[in-house]
Symmetry: C2
Subunit: 218 residues, 2 copies
DNA sequence: CTGTTAGCGCCTTCAT
DNA sequence: ATGAAGGCGCTAACAG
């Protein structure tokens, strides 16, 4: 990986501080129009590409959601992948795709990898042999929301989307992404808020209006 | 995202420096067996999970390879996905999957996202409408290797794997991952070395021995 | 064998 | 309206 232009590079060229450049690029209201313009112009000229790696690290957020499926060749799951991917790009999120091959051991390895990578949320269709959900409890313990699809799980503390279609996957994705945003905004409400709404109202748009409290857990 | 245990936490508990802990965990030969043991024991007890985000940032490497396909629903591409995924997990790499929907605009958006995210390599099956490869030249410019699959491209400067099967995808993946490792090791050789070898010899194992120079570009 | 230091690129108070 | 400073968690020289 070559170095690439950094905020610092821009700043030194423009004789201003890194923070001013940073703010300009994120359209901070405290920066003068002229300055913003100058910064943006150069950033464009130099083809500045922000280092998301650094941002992710700093913000402690990866902007990616992980998908753990038993078998990528199964047509049903392909549909799910498709649904998740669509929503993800739309929101500038990444989707990391993995398969457990119906193997509990692999499932575990993958899960740990996802935790290490600090994914913002996980959508999983558990293995046929997965009876012990403690592996997934681990996600919760570190604050990563999990939603199960396709295959129901015994443990009722997990969110579960059963709709056998792209829509289900889409909803699951929306849910996770929104959860992420909530966290960023430091708004602390009942954890199941959005999905509860989804359950009642079904569609994304609905999620935006209503503020009535969730009445029960999934 | 909750904070999670850090090296610092372990270090302060064990009354040693962060670097000693770090080295212990990565089995550095300069650390005494006893120390390593103590560190590992606590790390285990406390369920320490390294923050890959930080590592990626520090090393300027994401350990993920990006896959850009026109249509995830196409059975052929599903096979490719499958092949790439297999190799990826095996090497502890992540695979970020995206689809261009045969739309050049989307293809571009995705490509930029991948650059921002500093993927270590990209495997792409270009859109039917993709005639201008300058978008992908951009990857090269920032040092990200690109390999095209399935659909040939006019621009001969791009690596191309035509094998219509899982093996092809597998080879493409191997190639990218190896390239990544080379870069880390600061070994600079002809860029097309490995893929050239692959072309001549076909299999991963072969890649490991031979050192004869590539005779031409893909 | 272990510790100290420095810094990756970015965002974010807190000054000015 | 802008700048200075600190720090996220980790690795990598370089010192002791």
């Amino acid at each position: 990986m070559k170095k690439g232009i950094t905020l610092k590079d821009l700043a030194s060229r423009l004789n201003m501080s890194v923070s001013t450049v940073s703010k300009s690029l994120s359209n901070d209201s405290a920066i003068s129009a002229l300055t913003k313009e100058r910064v943006k112009k150069l950033a464009d000229e130099w083809n500045y590409i922000p280092n998301e790696s650094a941002r992710h690290f700093k913000l402690n957020k990866s902007f990616t959601i992980g998908l753990i499926l038993p078998d990528l060749l199964d047509p049903f799951f392909v549909l799910a992948i498709n649904g998740v991917e669509d929503i993800a790009v739309e929101k500038d999120y990444n989707m990391t795709l993995t398969q457990s091959h119906e193997d509990v051991k692999k499932e575990e390895k993958i899960a740990n990898l996802m935790i290490s990578n600090r994914v913002d949320g996980v959508i999983v269709a558990v293995t046929k042999g997965t009876v012990d959900m403690s592996l997934f409890q681990k996600f919760k313990r570190v604050g990563i929301p999990v939603v199960c699809i396709a295959r129901g799980v015994s443990d009722a503390t997990f969110s579960y989307v059963s709709a056998n279609n792209v829509d289900g996957a889409a909803k699951a994705t929306e849910f996770l992404i929104k959860r992420g945003h909530k966290r960023i905004a430091h708004i602390s409400g009942p954890k199941t808020l959005h999905i509860s709404q989804a359950r009642y109202q079904g569609y994304e748009n609905a999620l935006k209006k209503a503020k009535f409290p969730p009445t029960r857990n999934w």
